[in-house]
């Protein structure tokens, strides 16, 4: 409250928004018409690599830089040779052709899964497009995961090929390789770069060297005709219980990628665009690999992690026009204040967007003052494949709102009824679950090997129409803007990443001292939520600070920084329902000092999460 809407007016010296009038475009938008913006293959097929790379490599953009990679030392005019690599669309065509041919030579079949576990290096992008050309399924993993989540995802995803780096192989793959008998080939990229920008050759036993592999392959490759429903991308996400879920997307998703890149991110051909998300998360793939290139932009890739001074240098020196980042980073920039911005020429910056978790209104207002243009929050999920609800360049921003549904996307607030059907709630300002009318092009087509979990994501209304249930509670105001309220389940959003509590709990109980564990999200001013664990110890173990430290280290070594608890409390017992389910919600309410709500199903004889030190 108290945050005034931010009106929009044409900005002098900047290109006019692609979406000039939300209401008009929404009223007339049709997916079949939008599809004409794609080229398609000669035989009518649809392949992501063709739309993102090949069509430009054969057209007017062949010599335009598609990817400008900034290595850790790659900033400024005096960057050492090799620390900065540029790939034109024509280069990317040739390099991805090589990798596709190399996959064929290895006997990798269409439909096989090719995984990436890489820092943001140029080869990751080449591998992605090479796999897509070959009609293999590409699945990028976040390199800040530890060996346990990595092994689990490679197993669940039935990985046949893995592309990684020397360092990551040594640390995270070698220890788990014997758990992965189906993993036929591991391709290793050298850790350093030669002055040419090529990675150094590697010679790790049991692996293939990237340079040798692609160097021997032909740089011409005709993409086989691809049925639009062919599986293309596999992204893992988390639920409250059970194993991670592998959401499978098909080549038709490129239609959503392309349209949303244009309408929601306002990408104009030739723009310099920077998506700071890692491809290990869906944002870094849909909007860090595919959408920018189908829209013909020059995309920046920064190998380094977040750093205030570095980021402002990149924005200024590279003349970034469109910038897509996340609330955690924005809040860190806010903490640093306006001083680091003094003297930085950010006049090229035209459009700023944010995703990952709701962007707090303070950050929207701050960015408007700091950059002359506000961050535009948008909402989507791994399962949706692309942006579904957004704030647009031409539309008034209401700070704190995720905006309005994309043209072509029908969103609603629904109530899930006892019989499993849903009721669409038309009244404004009513809380319910955010749902999307099923059938948009980038809708996930499966959770791999989990048909039942997939079906549970969908429900029909009284009219028989099918809806995808997002699990996010929201409300819609009278003008059609959506506002995030909370999650309908116990998954944790930490630094914009979805973490399943069960995955973390499972690792904690592997420690010999731990009998039970429960994990919640604890609010943090920067990260949104930090992972906090409550553990119950076996008899004979004491909850000393040494043990807590040992548990923190134990969890981190297995889960990696992205999924590890930052705080662990030793407790006497965990609150449970009569059926034995841990009530994480109650733990969270207690942690935050909130009302505990309905506890009538609470098991009576097990005490609450009382800290040992209190008892």
């Amino acid at each position: 409250m108290g945050f005034a809407p931010i009106p929009k007016a044409p900005r002098e010296g900047h290109a006019a928004p692609n979406l000039d009038d939300y209401d008009r475009v929404s009223a007339t938008f049709r997916w079949d018409e939008a599809e004409r913006a794609l080229e398609h293959q000669p035989g009518g097929g649809l392949n992501i690599a063709h739309e993102a790379v090949t069509r430009h490599a054969r057209g007017a953009r062949a010599q335009q830089v598609a990817i400008r990679w900034l290595g850790k030392d790659g900033l400024g005019a005096d960057a050492p040779p090799g620390a900065r690599v540029e790939l034109t669309y024509a280069d990317l065509e040739r390099e991805s052709a090589r990798f596709a041919n190399a996959l064929a030579a290895l006997g990798v079949a269409p439909g096989d899964r090719v995984f990436g576990l890489c820092p943001r290096v140029p080869e990751l992008y080449v591998a992605a497009f090479g796999a897509l050309r070959h009609r293999a399924v590409f699945s990028p993993l976040f390199s800040a995961f530890g060996p346990d989540p990595i092994a689990q995802r490679l197993e669940l995803g039935d990985a046949r090929v893995l592309v990684t780096t020397e360092r990551l192989y040594r640390r995270k793959i070698e220890p788990i390789r014997d758990r992965l008998p189906a993993l036929a080939h591991v391709v290793v990229i050298g850790d350093r770069r030669e002055p040419s920008g090529a990675p150094t050759p590697t010679s790790t036993p049991g692996t293939l060297d990237w340079r040798a592999l692609v160097g021997d392959a032909s740089d011409t490759h005709a993409i086989p005709e691809t049925d639009p429903e062919t599986p293309a991308l596999l992204h893992f996400t988390s639920g409250t219980t059970g194993t991670p879920k592998g959401a499978l997307h098909v080549h038709r998703a490129v239609l959503t990628h392309h349209v949303t890149g244009s309408l929601a991110l306002d990408l104009h051909p030739g723009d310099v665009y920077w998506c700071t998300a890692d491809p290990g998360w869906v944002t870094g793939t849909s909007y860090g690999i595919v959408a920018p290139l189908t829209n013909g932009v020059t995309m920046l890739i920064d190998e380094a992690d977040f750093d205030v001074a570095r980021w402002y240098r990149i924005l200024a020196e590279e003349k970034v026009q469109v910038w897509y980042t996340a609330p955690t980073a924005i809040r860190m920039l806010m903490r640093a204040g306006l001083e680091p911005l003094a003297g930085a020429d950010l006049s090229a910056l035209r459009f700023l967007a944010s995703v990952g978790e709701p962007l707090n209104p303070e950050a929207v207002v701050w960015s408007h003052a700091a950059f002359g243009a506000p961050f535009h929050d948008n909402w989507w999920q791994t399962e949706t494949g692309g942006i579904m609800v957004a704030n647009y360049a031409s539309m008034e921003v209401r700070p704190g709102s995720m905006g309005r549904p994309l043209p072509g996307i029908e969103a609603a607030i629904v109530e899930v009824l006892d019989d499993g059907r849903v009721k669409v709630i038309d009244a404004p300002d009513t809380e319910g679950q955010l749902a999307l009318r099923a059938g948009w092009p980038s809708m996930f087509r499966a959770y791999v090997n989990a048909e039942e979990r997939y079906r549970k994501c969908f429900a029909r209304d009284e009219a028989g129409d099918e809806w995808y249930l997002s699990g996010d509670l929201s409300r819609r105001d009278a003008d059609g803007y959506y506002w995030f309220v909370g999650r309908a389940d116990d998954v944790i959003k930490s630094a914009g990443h979805l973490i399943g509590p069960f995955e973390v709990e499972s690792v904690l109980v592997e420690h010999p001292a731990v009998v039970e564990a429960a994990v919640i999200g604890k609010p943090d001013e920067v990260a949104g939520d930090l992972i906090k664990a409550f553990v119950v110890l076996h008899r004979g173990h004491e909850g000393t600070s040494e043990l807590v430290k040992e548990l923190l280290g134990f969890a981190r070594a297995r889960l990696g920084p992205a999924a590890t608890p930052r705080e662990i409390d030793v407790v006497q017992g965990l609150p449970k329902t009569r059926s034995g389910k841990i009530m994480r919600r109650l733990l969270r309410a207690r942690e935050l000092g909130l009302p505990e709500g309905d506890t009538s199903t609470l098991e009576e004889d097990v005490g609450g999460a009382k800290k040992e030190s209190d008892s």
Binding site: A309, A329, M332, A336, P561
Partner: protein, 79 residues
């Protein structure tokens, strides 16, 4: 405080964040790479040093603190 004392203190702080891993860290190793530190970890490290030594470290200087040696030199110049 000497350079060595500061490095010892940094190791202690890092041991809180990545228990067990900081002892074998070389003075010129890349902190983020070697210990798999993310931005939240780094923030915690800097806050810890600030509280203990009362050194102000503006966010824009975080990039200068990539190794134990570089971090210690930075701090030594300001204490």
């Amino acid at each position: 405080m000497t350079q060595d004392e500061i490095i010892a203190l940094l190791r202690e702080r890092l041991d809180e964040i990545v228990p067990g891993a900081a002892a074998s860290l070389g003075e010129d190793d890349d902190l983020r790479d070697e210990l798999d530190l993310d931005s939240m970890d780094f923030l915690k490290l800097v806050r810890g040093v600030h509280e203990q030594l009362k050194v102000d470290i503006p966010e824009t200087d975080y990039g200068k603190l990539g190794t134990l040696r570089a971090f210690a030199e930075y701090v030594a110049a300001r204490t």
